[in-house]
């Protein structure tokens, strides 16, 4: 039977998380249908149809689907589930919110945040903040899976799948959307950035964080991240947090500045291709995972780095 991949989007664009989850889906089976659910999402459906390896795109449009609310979205996914034996999506905040609801409504176990497809029914996933990796096998009649996208390459474009309209399920009427407070920025998104520069508690204040980290980020065209300590101290907003409970990232280059390297933080960035650590403390655990370490005061070397770039 076919695989249903829930597209991740913000109602204007398909996120590149979908292309990465598609790569995972294709390792499970070859017939992948993408569901684009939302309001006025035809253009997003067309983007999805161009992804290589998609055999069909389903579009469900309804006002109740406009804000990715879990209750109506889960109802629509469940209404389509009969034709699929696998339902999969990226482990974004939308995927993490809706998929367990789908699994429970189907009375099946979910496999969360897989990092590798071993075979069609067997996957590897991190537990204990990535300090152990479990290999799990499911024999559920329907497999419900979320994908840690940092572990999969994005599927390329080049497809031209047919787009089919499906009806949205009736809104259960349990929830409504009030507002979004999304941080607007010209910088790339953390989860899709090629380069990330992150700051830790050593920055000392929100002003210093901006003054020292942001110019280098602008020079590099990098996304900005932060350790949990820096976020908890109020130096950086919460959606910048990289780590077990924040975002899991795997850019080509990750520059950790004044970050000691707590387990929780390493869990969020250790799959980066190249890691640079800048820290005054040469014993800091971050150096144990860094490809290039510079033992120095970040307030001295970051302005220097900005000039050198």
């Amino acid at each position: 039977m076919a695989i249903l991949l829930l597209a991740d989007h913000d109602n204007s664009h398909l996120s590149d998380q979908t292309a990465k989850a598609l790569t995972a889906a294709q390792k499970i089976g070859s017939d992948v249908h993408v569901l684009v659910a939302g309001s006025n999402v035809k253009a997003i459906a067309e983007e999805a149809a161009r992804l290589s390896g998609v055999s069909k795109v389903l579009v469900a449009e309804d006002a109740s689907l406009a804000n990715n609310l879990a209750e109506p979205l889960a109802a629509t996914i469940v209404s389509l589930a009969g034709s699929y034996d696998t339902i999969i999506t990226a482990a974004t905040s939308v995927g993490k919110n809706v998929m367990p609801r789908v699994a429970a409504l189907l009375d099946v176990a979910q496999v969360s945040e897989i990092i590798e497809v071993v075979s069609a029914d067997t996957y590897r996933r991190p537990i204990y903040a990535g300090n152990a990796i479990q290999t799990v096998q499911t024999s559920e009649p329907k497999k419900v899976i979320t994908v840690r996208t940092a572990s999969f390459a994005a599927a390329p474009e080049g497809g031209s799948a047919a787009i089919e309209t499906v009806s949205a399920a009736a809104d259960p009427g349990l929830s409504s959307h009030i507002s979004d407070a999304l941080s607007s920025s010209d910088r790339p998104e953390l989860t899709s950035a090629k380069i990330i520069i992150s700051g830790g508690r050593a920055l000392g204040s929100s002003e210093k964080f901006k003054e020292v980290i942001l110019p280098v980020a602008d020079k590099l065209g990098a996304a900005v991240g932060a350790s949990r300590a820096a976020v908890d101290a109020g130096y950086a907003p919460n959606d910048w947090q990289v780590g077990q409970t924040g975002k899991v990232v795997a850019p080509d280059l990750y520059i950790a500045c004044g970050i000691s390297g707590a387990i929780q933080h390493l869990a969020g960035m250790k799959d980066s291709k190249v890691i640079v650590a800048i820290n005054k403390d040469e014993e800091a655990p971050i150096f144990q995972v860094a490809d290039y370490g510079l033992v120095a005061d970040l307030f001295d070397v970051l302005p220097e780095l900005e000039k050198a770039l």
Partner: protein, 249 residues
């Protein structure tokens, strides 16, 4: 309104876990155990809602081994009114946990259930969402702000890219994120008082729930490590290496 809060006994977040050499799991013998940090935040939020006059009683429930009584006593010492231990020595998957808590909710009739967004052992992040699905209730996951209104609750959620606020009809399930609050410490007198607070013991069978696992764990292993690289002496050397050796600039 009564608030039901779930708590789980897990390996303390400060402990560096060890994977068993035979690949059968993680070493749990003689390891410090504590309440899951997100569950501490859940208990704290319920207590604050009670202190603000929005709730009348805070009931805590745990599904786990006999020793999970200690975790429940911690919640009682923080200020919860009574506790329910659904005792089982088995590993219980999120779906079965959700089914048991649903049974507890049907008996207790809470107006709000607060669940930690994930347990830091299996990192599943499923139970709250599954519970609300089984009850047919709305869900407010990854909450950083909870405001109770008349027959409804407004939940501000931490989502990719910022915050989203949703309005949910009560009864509802809320799952807590890190920045919702800072949990209190239990005082010594409260720890003594907690020993006398009521704690009911039940079993999964009391709720007709089969806890046999649906997933088969084939093995558990150490992640492939990353080797430490080299130390560079200057910014110039760093930029040079990133350009020529690593090729990322």
């Amino acid at each position: 309104m009564k608030i039901l809060v779930t708590v789980k006994r897990v390996v303390d977040f400060n402990v560096k876990i060890r994977v068993k050499a035979d690949g059968t799991g993680v070493e749990l013998a003689n390891v410090k155990m504590s309440m899951n940090p997100f569950d501490e935040i859940s208990v704290e939020e319920a207590l604050r809602l009670k202190e603000a006059g929005k709730a009348s009683e805070v009931v805590v429930v745990s599904i786990g081994p006999a020793k999970a009584e200690e975790t429940l006593r911690t919640a009682l010492a923080m200020g919860a009114d009574r506790a329910i231990l659904v005792e089982t020595e088995d590993q219980v998957e999120p779906l079965a946990v959700a089914k048991i808590v649903k049974g507890v909710a049907e008996a207790e009739q809470p107006g709000l259930i607060i669940v930690g967004k994930q347990a830091i052992d299996d990192d599943s992040n499923q139970t709250g969402q599954m519970l609300s699905a089984l009850l047919g209730w709305p869900q407010g996951t990854f909450a950083s702000k909870v405001e109770i209104g008349d027959g409804k609750v407004n939940v501000t959620r931490e989502v990719d890219g910022g915050l989203q606020t949703v309005e949910l009809k009560l009864p509802a399930v809320v799952t807590t994120d890190l920045r919702l609050n800072e949990p209190r410490y239990a005082s010594l007198p409260n720890i003594m008082k907690a020993k006398k607070k009521p704690l009911d013991k039940k079993s999964p069978a009391d709720f007709g729930v089969d806890t046999r696992p649906r997933l088969k764990v084939l093995k558990t292993e150490e992640p492939s490590g990353r080797k430490a690289g080299i130390k560079v002496k200057s910014v110039a050397e760093l930029v040079e290496k990133l350009k020529t050796e690593a090729g990322v600039l």
